[in-house]
Symmetry: C2
């Protein structure tokens, strides 16, 4: 492997992404208040505590079952802000367009962004458009950055996981990644799998009612549930045990994964969250999730068993135990 | 011209960019608080008045005399916030990398971003990195978004130009565009022209001392001074007269422009600002600019002669008058 160049895997969200971040990016960019391993930075301005996040979207194809790059970009930034416990308010949008891109498709994408913003209750307030010659980009790339406000004194981030915490997922896993993969490979609608891309700010507002029993929120996007949990385990210095049989997976996703040899635990989600909740409030958290349209398939999938190490184990359906590591290499490039 | 597809000119910052914005983008995206024609949106959060802006950078080549895509991206967003009279505080950075891009060049760009942030006194607080397969992007694209705070009650934007206002430019025009063009065409260092990419927040803090005599601030980037003034003239509903002989232009820029048939008035700047100032404070404004390292070649280049119309005329060096329009088509693609 050439050590001197950028590889596709550096964009996977997995092990190589973390290496690039730790070895190349953070040494230059980290400064006071840096987001580090979290989905957004927390900022104090005047009397307000704000969250600030950014994400670029390069998904291929740009239209896929259940969504497109536009609503994905809005929901993604809404969710990054939400995972810090912030209420998302304002979103910026920046387009890089390839010369020759269809204005009609662009208008469709814009309309989806507007609908997604309205659904999440956020305003698209500022933007930018650049055009590059044909062959220098792939149709359309979108950056969304967002500002949210923290209206509580809770500290919710990837470093707050504690021994005994129950781990909840808000619904079925792997839907987004498999929907995009099927669209890309021409499997089309046959599998019936659609993206789960959706705004999670409403669900998070409900979960904030758990107060300081709510320790971690994170949306398992690139790298899937496995990679996200591994990040949290390392950040919180905890060990986690998952129960494979508790993982909610749609039938269509299970089918495609078994044919293609993919593990849904590593497949991207765009409308799901993981929550770490104190044990005595876990059933209440589950009830809150299941009562919300974004959490009807929620489940308790594991717990924090001890401190230290960042180790994740999974009790398999056949009764064994296996280690769970971060995504290594690139499973599905350009999934978001 | 095919009406259904995106053209290079849609990214020029000129007439086609405005058409795309007005006809395709704004009908979908505009909502309360939208930046519209300004460089940043103004937001009220808690007791704070904030400016929020976004810009993507796709400049080609990524290294050019005096700078690279990294410092350009930091300075650009610092300046967009400054032009609203805000003090820039926090910047997000998002990278789209092409598979195979050099890690060494990436590290160089990151180091430049850090130096630019330190020079401007802003923090790079959150980021994102995506990688696309070889041939699907051009080495590196960077988005920077920024948050600034308004610490005064002045209204400074493109709609505040008034009859009698004197128009100042903070220094020589066209340097950035010509530096990039020379690098691209292999004219290299022969012309001695370097980018003017620089943070303008320090200069703006000084100019804010003019209080409500300061009406408009705008940095003439894509489309140059001509296009930016035309935007202001339309937004403020005013007519402007420029004096060609007053325009500060470096010798090297004049030389390259005359050889290639370019007009420096349409060439991009990345470290200059235009200011509209009440006539009785214009000399004071000029003095403030010239006393600042970012404004030593400042000049009064024209004035607002009447209300209505959005018309711009220029008294030429030979004593005639010519109309000045917005950049039409694309003079220099991928200049920022």
């Amino acid at each position: 492997m050439n050590q001197d160049i950028i590889l596709l895997g550096h964009g996977s969200g997995g092990k190589l992404s973390h290496q690039l971040l730790d070895e190349v990016i953070l040494p230059h960019l980290s400064s006071t208040g840096a987001a580090g391993q979290n989905d957004a930075a927390l900022l104090q301005i005047g009397g307000s505590k704000l969250a600030f996040s950014t994400d670029s979207y390069v998904v291929d194809p740009i239209f896929f079952p259940g969504g497109n790059i536009g609503d994905l970009a809005v929901n993604g930034t809404v969710n990054d802000l939400s995972m810090m416990g912030a209420r998302p308010l304002f979103i910026s949008v920046a387009f890089i367009l390839e010369e020759g891109f269809s204005k009609k498709e662009f208008a469709e994408i814009l309309a989806s962004m507007r609908r997604a913003a309205d659904a999440a209750g956020v305003s698209l307030v500022t933007g930018d458009t650049k055009v590059v010659p044909k062959g220098k980009a792939d149709r359309i790339f979108i950056n969304t950055s967002g500002i949210g406000v923290l209206e509580h004194g809770l500290q919710i981030d990837g470093g707050q996981g504690r021994v005994g915490d129950q781990i909840l997922v808000s619904g079925t896993i792997g839907d987004h990644g498999i929907a995009v993969l099927c669209a890309r490979e021409g499997l089309g609608m046959q599998t019936g799998v659609t993206t789960d891309s959706a705004p999670l700010n409403g669900l998070v507002q409900e979960l904030l009612g758990l107060g300081d029993a709510l320790h971690v929120l994170r949306d398992p996007t690139r790298g899937g549930v496995a990679t996200t949990l591994k990040e949290i385990a390392l950040q919180s210095e905890i060990a986690i045990t998952l129960r494979e049989e508790a993982l909610p997976v749609n039938e269509g996703v299970t089918g495609v994964c078994s044919i293609l040899g993919l593990d849904p635990l590593y497949v991207a989600n765009e409308g799901k969250l993981l929550a770490f909740v104190a044990p005595d409030r876990a059933q209440e958290a589950l009830k809150i999730m299941r009562a919300h349209p974004m959490g009807c398939d929620a489940a308790i999938i594991g717990e924090v068993t001890s401190s230290g190490g960042g180790r994740i184990q999974m009790e398999t359906v056949v009764g064994g135990m296996r280690g769970v590591e971060m995504l290594s290499g690139e499973q599905l490039p350009r999934i978001c």
